[in-house]
Symmetry: C2
Subunit: 131 residues, 2 copies
Amino acid sequence: MGDKHILGDLQHAIMRVLWAEGEATVARVQEALEEDRDRALTTIATMLVKMEKKGIVGHRSEGRQFVYRALISETDVQRSMVGELTEMLFGGDVTALVSHLLSEQEIDDAELARLKAMIAEHRSKERRRGR
Amino acid sequence: MGDKHILGDLQHAIMRVLWAEGEATVARVQEALEEDRDRALTTIATMLVKMEKKGIVGHRSEGRQFVYRALISETDVQRSMVGELTEMLFGGDVTALVSHLLSEQEIDDAELARLKAMIAEHRSKERRRGR
DNA sequence: GCCCATCTACTACCCTGGTAGTAATACTGG
DNA sequence: CCAGTATTACTACCAGGGTAGTAGATGGGC
């Protein structure tokens, strides 16, 4: 679990389906991804096999279908990938990342207010936990 | 410039050297990256050729050496990659990313204080700009 | 002038993500 | 029972990042 969990676009899209649905067959995954782009069933199936080999999904048999499920959580992936990126782009400095978000990404007043609230929230939470 | 600019580890490491030094020969890049890991000179050279083909670096000849320089800024790359990741992991919701940072990444009190200050700063800046 | 060191050019791999066709197999409706 | 369909298994291929060897050119020292 302390692994790298760096996923590509398709892999991540597939994970999102599994996270949302808990379990899904290949056909179900393809169907869910259809709106996005039309991929062959075998594309999804092949990808799932590769992902299983990596240990990020597992499956059980139901009749002759495979029912896949995620073996890592969305938070795991977020942590891995955000951590990786923060390290690569900002030398691991989280505040540098936030600073970048503030100056380079469009953030409107409402979002800014939410951020402020979140930080206040977090602060009190930390304090309560006795840090 | 509105391109994708998604770089791998080595490419990014090379860019960091070019950003730091303005210009650098292949040998200089290798030397700068040596502490990190020992790579063959030709590895760096090949990578630079690929990067030039992508249009992210350029070179001029000095004697029989090539002197490379970056054609995109660090901010460009940060914007691309942070944007990409935010889209992929948080559906483009920047506050969700910050929320993740607060809850999942270790942030100490000092950093938190800096964040708070940054947000306040940013706020007044926006206001001053007349938004 | 010649040999050696230095550079780039070219070529070749490996790996992983992504995409999909084809083969084999098992099931199902008539 | 048999044909067609659904489903996985196997194989193949492309692209791009990463790594590096070998070849070829060129310049410097003696």
